[in-house]
Point group: D2
Chain length 421, copies 4
Amino acid sequence: MAEVLPTVDDHVLADRFRATRRLTDALASPLSAEDQTVQSMPDVSPTKWHRAHTSWFFETFLLVPLLSDYRVFHPDFGFLFNSYYEGAGARYPRGDRGLISRPGVVEVADYRRHVDYAMGQLLAQGIGRDASALVDLGIHHEQQHQELLLMDIKHVLSRSPLLPAYAPRPTAIAGDGSPTTWTAHEGGTTQIGHAGIGFGFDNEFPRHRTYLEPFALADRPVSCGEWQQFIEDGGYHRPELWLSDGWTAATTGGWDGPLYWSEHDQRRYEYTLAGDAPVDPTQPVCHISYYEADAYARWAGSRLPTEAEWEVVAVTRATQGGPDANMLDPDVLHPSPSPGSATSPYGDVWQWTSSAYSPYPGFVPEPGTVGEYNGKFMVNQYVLRGGSCLTPDDHVRATYRNFFPPAARWAMSGLRLARNV
Amino acid sequence: MAEVLPTVDDHVLADRFRATRRLTDALASPLSAEDQTVQSMPDVSPTKWHRAHTSWFFETFLLVPLLSDYRVFHPDFGFLFNSYYEGAGARYPRGDRGLISRPGVVEVADYRRHVDYAMGQLLAQGIGRDASALVDLGIHHEQQHQELLLMDIKHVLSRSPLLPAYAPRPTAIAGDGSPTTWTAHEGGTTQIGHAGIGFGFDNEFPRHRTYLEPFALADRPVSCGEWQQFIEDGGYHRPELWLSDGWTAATTGGWDGPLYWSEHDQRRYEYTLAGDAPVDPTQPVCHISYYEADAYARWAGSRLPTEAEWEVVAVTRATQGGPDANMLDPDVLHPSPSPGSATSPYGDVWQWTSSAYSPYPGFVPEPGTVGEYNGKFMVNQYVLRGGSCLTPDDHVRATYRNFFPPAARWAMSGLRLARNV
Amino acid sequence: MAEVLPTVDDHVLADRFRATRRLTDALASPLSAEDQTVQSMPDVSPTKWHRAHTSWFFETFLLVPLLSDYRVFHPDFGFLFNSYYEGAGARYPRGDRGLISRPGVVEVADYRRHVDYAMGQLLAQGIGRDASALVDLGIHHEQQHQELLLMDIKHVLSRSPLLPAYAPRPTAIAGDGSPTTWTAHEGGTTQIGHAGIGFGFDNEFPRHRTYLEPFALADRPVSCGEWQQFIEDGGYHRPELWLSDGWTAATTGGWDGPLYWSEHDQRRYEYTLAGDAPVDPTQPVCHISYYEADAYARWAGSRLPTEAEWEVVAVTRATQGGPDANMLDPDVLHPSPSPGSATSPYGDVWQWTSSAYSPYPGFVPEPGTVGEYNGKFMVNQYVLRGGSCLTPDDHVRATYRNFFPPAARWAMSGLRLARNV
Amino acid sequence: MAEVLPTVDDHVLADRFRATRRLTDALASPLSAEDQTVQSMPDVSPTKWHRAHTSWFFETFLLVPLLSDYRVFHPDFGFLFNSYYEGAGARYPRGDRGLISRPGVVEVADYRRHVDYAMGQLLAQGIGRDASALVDLGIHHEQQHQELLLMDIKHVLSRSPLLPAYAPRPTAIAGDGSPTTWTAHEGGTTQIGHAGIGFGFDNEFPRHRTYLEPFALADRPVSCGEWQQFIEDGGYHRPELWLSDGWTAATTGGWDGPLYWSEHDQRRYEYTLAGDAPVDPTQPVCHISYYEADAYARWAGSRLPTEAEWEVVAVTRATQGGPDANMLDPDVLHPSPSPGSATSPYGDVWQWTSSAYSPYPGFVPEPGTVGEYNGKFMVNQYVLRGGSCLTPDDHVRATYRNFFPPAARWAMSGLRLARNV
């Protein structure tokens, strides 16, 4: 964010602000008040919490400091809806978000309207370059929460024995099941990181040189059919394929397939946002941890790419998700490659890399509380690249760094193989 | 229940059934869908779970076996809403009840109507003595859940930093703060337990002889003012006053007053169903564990009564809660003694006794699944007597045995002292 | 202890003191320094801790207050070897006793000699009645720790994959496998508790009246062969036989037989202080929890006796363990009934009763720190009666109340059935 | 190890084998049987376990496969003393190593002699290049356990309220307290990793190119005096200095200084292998986690070096620890810089780098069970460089990669600062 030049004028910014806020509400609209209240594990936040927290972000970082006469909506909401900003004061414990019955969805909707109205005023009166950058950050922040909202509600609904559907089943688009092809790269000194045109999070900066050995990257993610072969070859029961911590996670967690997979009626099913459905072997596998991705790659005689390897190949295809990629479309919401999208670097599933999430050489966080955005999480996590079928289309780019702990499985996480050449 | 003679005719039973069901819905009516969904600790159940579970009881034990052509409302509800009956099949884990977003309150209301309609049919067609006894049991079971519903929602709402009110504040009725008087009893061989007229739970049977040494029982419960003296005398910091397990519970739990008490603005407050309120020293103290009750009694140079001592004195006053007692009244919902009620054995607060919850000599549980009602809990719990301001007035009697683990504090539990004479 | 009249003169007391101290050292002598250091679970204490703690008891309650010029052996031992006396100051956490590598066994032996020498001086100079009673208490306290030492080291050694033996295998004495006979009692008002002649712990006082319904008590404990039938009839897999908390303990603990039982080479074995040995069906079953005892009794159509029932029958046979009973004998150390001992109320195994451990009516703990001896544990435990093959012969009597939490299994605990007549 | 050319002849190897084995026994010799038995936390292993496990390594990987007629010392030792090799069969749970009272130290000493004798035979009969490489690996493995043995016993003894000393206090050597100087490096494409001459662990291979930005590295580690300034400036209470996971670790762990620091008598002390001693401000700070190192660096306006940065600077000074460095010397055993050693890259304390522990590009683990040596731990850990005052002098080199989880504090871990230039 630090080095972003706000190239959008205020009008365009206001339009994007409104469209983003509207999409959040649209994504919540199929959900009952009860659905929006439940927290199924500490990593998951209730839908209404996401809706309130994204509003709190604009209230705290834009409205309170910049809009004169702004009246804070509720004195306790700062405590309830601060996620992790130490600089913004005390906050409610993360693992207890599912205990908040009040405010309910109606009051949260009021809160959103209150913030939207005030943001409309602020944007109408014209704001400077720094504030525009903060609004842009708030928009991208809300887009991240759109994906989290969908990931989280999928987890919530999956815990119900009724296995309810969030949305109707999409028209199935089967892949063609053909073998992976590979793109080779000659290696050498190259550059990665954000070049400074357009929005970027602070963790994408600074652009810097890195040295790569020659390698090849698969042209598509690993499919469910390939994953079934891994399972049938004993992949979940052979410790020599696993990292030590991964083997502990798999055995204590009783893992024998991706999260949401089950077996009944003599076949494999996966829980999707459209309810339980038979596993489609041509679709990219999803909801796997870093540990599983790493074990699969070892089994396949390959390895995971580094984030630099991923980026230097992806950037040759397209610098951003585009019409080819299967990204957030309320009518799909599941990995589901069309002929065009199958080999896009973007969409369907986030792709685990072998890169621990670390600061780039020369990284400097933003000053002030928003500087807590990314830097303080740079430990115990691994980088994922490419965006997923739940990521807003204009949110991702070749330099975008997503990250999760290696045992996390509730994100739309899959993998793309790499190998030495 | 075993030896109950159904003295009510079917008409009266149907009226009581309808009135009980109506009261449950009335108690839930101030609560939003979100309020009814939250589970704030494993002991607490969501409001909508109580509403569904009490319906499941009638469906499982009456409608399925007895009403021909009865259609079960939903095939998964047996799994979701069975509380603890091993004989009724697998069940959803207790600690995860707060993860059930669906069915929501609307579908639960449908379930209740479905069951009420079918119960109306069943009762209209006339049922025999055994089935009447089961309906009676179901009514008393639902009354227990009315109190649980209120206890539980109090705990849920207390976890919100907003400290919301369930109901408007009642008109304050202060006690007179006068010292306790004592009723002496000469002891000897006496009888306790249910005599067989009217409804009783299986754990009240059989009536049997027991030998008592002479004793005296206080005429009213310990008050908040007296409890404050205990606190100020270091009661929570003097291990010699406590049972060893109690001292561990108090220190690891950080107890320094009853659950829901706090200190701000230089005075003591307690969270009530009407929100935060200053502690009234004339009211009975409430939300204390057995451990605290026992420590207080030791501090006061007294002891807790046994359940037999409580019963032989209470029965001389009144065999049941009556107009004098402060019992479940939606306009009060808090210990709040009127001049008349102050010395009733019933109402305001359940009173811890020193009696471990054990079977009476000759106790035989009911055959079949309803036999799991009480017997299997007869370990690691202590008996409380007398009913509280959240207990339906016609639910309690002199022989009634309530029970909780000694560390439990979210029930309306207080104490009445006893001493040797 | 309170009402004990010291009937022993100082000479006899000194002899008993020395014999008791000697036995403790003899019991520890087969154990290496490493064996004496390990704590295999929080309930277990290392052997050298028992040896030091029993010395600390005499040092703290006798030598420091009464022997002029007594020099405390080490200033930190009070902190390390206080078990649970709040009145004796801060203490080392119980669960960390296995982390104490120093003092080692050599220094602990020095400590014992130091205390023994000083106690010799104290006893030689003549002490009064109160002090004599304290010495007597210390002797009985050390006898309790002799049994604990053996129970605990059995647990420690059982955790080793080598299953080492503490002692050589005793000569096997098989019971005769004959069915149980029953002793009937007509009930009525009777008395239990210590009558005041000879030593008694405070929890055995005061003697008091109690009312009993008619009942019958089995003449011998339940045997391993009978327990095998319970297992084979699915006893560990039928929830209807179990208390609810017991079922949770059994399923989460994976219980499918008594502690120390295993199955290999197509037969059942049990770990004993002489190493692994085939289960002898004629011997009393041992190392079962209250929950298992209760479930077995229900399965057998019987029940556990109350402690009053046990006592009124036992007292008609013998008021104390005697030559018939299989009690602490370093050549046996295992339930192993001889024809004479099989029907003694004492020895072989402690017998669970259905009585929660509570104060007797009128119970008053000792003043001062030794008053913490028993009273503060009177919650969440059940009474056992009769002594075991690890209890010193002169330690137990008809009124003796042992107690453990209902899930405990590492004591020498078995059961004797009762039934209504 | 994979690419090691065994440059030593068998004679020299046998000498080194014997010297290494002797040193292990010498390090254990001040410890009692009790000391050698205790496990003070799951990460710590008992001394006698280290002594047995290092013997098991030679028995399993050399003697069993290569020495004809070799008799395994004890059939259960494979189970007890396998650390983490899945390929070598089932193993005893790591966290329960402190429960193993038997074998005791005497039997462990027998085991060592048995293995040493057989290894003498094996080495005398001449072995090939692959086996020599395995012996070399076994020697380096045992050297690692020499440091672990000392780290672990320090933790064990520190848990005793007696704070016993493992060794006499060394002659104090104070540093000069002068400010840090910096060595600049121009960056660019450079190479790191083992060049193939002499022993190396598999994780040091392959040597490979990497690109560095210009940087500077401090010439000495951060001192205790500097750390005290960090503490006094509120370093442990300012979340903005910390990684998010680090802040959680610090607050839940109650950290307010390095492990083993305490405050009494108005000054700071640290527990050392010579007992409690006042903190010497001129000595390198030790026993800090990655989180603390990272927070300190941020506070100091610097950062941690990457492992590549550390290596390219260290290699210009010395390729190995040498006479200048304060490494394992039984008379010192504490960070204690002499004028010569203060600026050595080696010795005193391991230095945290900002590099997550990952495979080098092209890394291939050894085939077979010894391939589990390093690769499977390459997740959730950070690299440390340079060796410590507990590391054998000939064990470390410029390419050596040590690793610990970021919250670990019981290793001899400190830090050296880096900065961008």
